[in-house]
Amino acid sequence: MPSYRRICVGSASRSEFDAMPRMTMIEAIRSALDVSMARNDDVVVYGEDVGFFGGVFRCTQGLQQKYGVSRCFDAPISECGIVGTAIGMAAYGLRPCVELQFADYMYPAYDQIVSEAARLRYRSAGDFTCPLVIRMPTGGGIFGGQTHSQSPEALFTHVAGLKTVVPSNPYDAKGLLIAAIEDPDPVIFLEPKRLYNGPFDGHHDRPVTAWAKHELSEVPEGHYTTPLGKAVTRRAGEAVTILAYGTMVHVALAAVEETGVDAEVIDLRTLLPLDLETIAASVAKTGRCIVLHEATLTSGFGAELTALVQEHCFYHLEAPVMRVTGWDTPYPHAQEWDYFPGPSRLGQALRDIVETR
């Protein structure tokens, strides 16, 4: 596996990395919130169980104690109310960063997100704006069944006015979250919960690795941003391009190692705006492309990626773009590992695609 750091983009200066603390994804997210709240009084954090307790995944632990109940507090169980009030706060001039307990529970807030947050700047011609971040844990692999496993990113990328971000590691999670909070527009920040405590490559039957052993768990304590809209190449390769984000980046790297296929692995990091340049350059080079995600296939974000790749790289393509994704069914509880597009399913696709000509 090549060095992750080597090709990772960020604005923290080199020297900061010396003797840097190791953080899990949870700690990195918490640190991003902490840094943001410390720098800017307008940043407020709330959501279900987010205050005293610090969130069911503990991403906000200690923030109420540090910044007081006016800056970090428990919300009633109303995703609609959480996002609706946050839009009002953002319009007031605050920088709310709210948590929805699971992405599966974002639907009650969907109207506020789509009809309101996403369109406020547009419909008021810039008179009002909505600098709002909505964090939510996504993805499966924790035996959470159909209501603790969803990956609804495509429901956000279809909506003009939203930005959608999915980090794959602690370093990016912190940099991207700070960038999201500082962004002037609403950002959907999807946190692959299977990565919270360790890089997960889809091998559920092996012991979990800790983030501490992973290079990208070296996270500066202070402020830095990872720019929205920039992908990063996690592994350079010649045979095929894999487009992935979140958990699937690790699955991709695992499958590449296991199959020995010389694939280029691109971690998209931001789905919208998309770094089409990096994608197109890679596919132009490799001539083959696999799109990987955990969400259901039909109308998933993979459809958009596939469409873009064939639009922009048609004459380079030596095989159809393949999609390796979750099935078009709800996420089942017991059959979770038959549903999850893990390294073996991707491995098969890799072998298939390099043989196609």
């Binding site: 009002g88 109207d111 309101e116």
Partner: protein
């Protein structure tokens, strides 16, 4: 259990339908001056009855009586009358402009002018309204330029919203008027969030949320009440009950609750019901709730009892679903006429001055209209640019929108 008769399905029906006689016998109206005025720091549980009554100030003869008589000077009342008259004239001209094809759509306020005009006067300059499409009085009573309103309605080259929004969906931060959404009720909860922000920042600004009777059925109404109640947000929650939601009478949204004000009771939010066609009562009640909010005593729910005398919008014809002359039978009368009568009774106004003012206002509105039309109307003259389609989706134009804009070569 003994087998009872089978269940049956209950669907509320209005008192009368087209062809029938208008019937408001179900609307019980207390005498002007008869409802008590509690101190603003009263406990919600001590005024539950006010959610089922109607606070009124102007009596049949146009005299202002009782504890809710507000401290408005005659000049201020004359100004209020002018605001309402301006709104009505504005409505008439814009309705006609729509009929002439100068724009796609319009929504009138006829019969409800007092509500937004009086409320705006009670509010402070830094406060924020989250209005629906039927509160243009908030702009007119706050001296927002009529020309700008018209340019928005015409979607012309001077439209502050660059042609993007349906007519009447104004926005003006400077005038404490939040960008109107076409989606009902969504902004009711945003108002609460704005108010929470003001409290978090230890500011003095309060928010006013607006919603129609029919729209209280939406979920966001509930979310607003929950958050306002829990965080004691400095917000005034205004429900404009104009009896109709397009073709649907208020009983469908209200169900068995008796009133919309009653919705506040389940949240421990003080709830007042006021004669929405009585400028003085409306002002007084608004003032009371605004003071509560400003003193950090939390939210108040106000139900304005009024009547939508016109069609829902230019796309609607109410004769299909309610008796033709229902509006004439509306027992709370016409807010413009009632304030006019009050001022005349008080010796501060006359029929002549009224006529003269009418003419003056008409001239002003027509002048504004001419000015606005010089910037174009929906289908002719100056237009916002096709470029404007792509601006303001984000603060900065992202690459994919740049590509798309290039495709239409603008």
């Amino acid at each position: 259990m003994t087998s009872p008769t089978p269940l049956h399905f209950h669907v509320p029906e209005p008192a009368s339908r087209p062809g029938g006689k208008p019937d408001f016998s179900g609307v019980s109206i207390p005498k002007a001056g008869s409802v008590r005025r509690p101190p603003v720091d009263v406990l919600p549980e001590e005024i539950r009855d006010l959610a089922y009554s109607i606070i009124r100030v102007l009596n049949h003869e146009g005299r202002a009586i009782g504890p809710w008589v507000p401290d408005l000077s005659q000049d201020e009342l004359v100004a209020g009358l002018r605001h309402m008259m301006t709104l009505r004239t504005f409505d008439a001209r814009m309705q006609m402009a729509q009929r002439q094809g100068k724009t796609s759509f319009y929504m009138q306020h006829t019969g409800e002018e007092a509500v937004s005009c009086a409320f705006r006067i009670a509010l402070g300059p830094d406060d924020m309204n989250f209005p629906t499409y039927r509160q243009a009085g908030l702009l007119i009573a706050h001296d927002y330029p009529l020309v700008d309103m018209m340019c928005q309605i015409y979607s012309n080259e001077h439209d502050p919203l660059k042609g993007r929004q349906l007519p009447v969906m104004y926005s003006s931060k400077k005038h404490g008027f939040f960008s109107i959404s076409g989606n009902l009720a969504t902004q009711f909860v945003q108002a609460v969030g704005w108010a929470m922000a003001s409290a978090i920042k230890r500011n003095h600004r309060i928010a006013a949320a607006w919603i129609g009777d029919g729209s209280t059925a939406e979920s966001d109404f509930h979310a607003a009440l929950v958050f306002a109640s829990t965080y004691k947000a400095p917000v005034v929650l205004n429900v404009v009950n104009n009896q109709w939601a397009i073709s649907t009478f208020q009983g469908i949204a209200r169900g068995g609750s008796g009133t919309f004000a009653a919705r506040g009771l389940g949240f421990g939010i003080p709830a007042l019901r006021v004669d929405g066609n009585d400028y003085l009562a409306t002002y007084a009640v608004a003032k009371w709730a605004i003071e509560r909010a400003r003193l950090n005593l939390g939210p108040t729910l106000i139900e304005y009892v009024t009547y939508r005398a016109g069609a829902h919008s230019t796309s609607d014809d109410p004769s299909a679903y309610r008796p033709k002359h229902e509006s004439e039978e509306w027992p709370l009368g016409d807010p413009v006429i009632r304030l006019k009568q009050h001022l005349i009774a008080a010796g501060a106004w006359s029929e002549e001055r009224h006529k003269q003012t009418e003419a003056e206002i008409l001239a002003t509105v027509i002048a504004a209209q001419k000015e606005a039309e010089a910037f174009g109307t929906l289908h002719s003259g100056g237009k916002p640019s096709a470029r404007d389609i792509f601006e303001d989706v984000y603060a900065e134009l992202p690459p994919h929108l740049r590509r798309q804009r290039q495709q239409i070569g603008v």
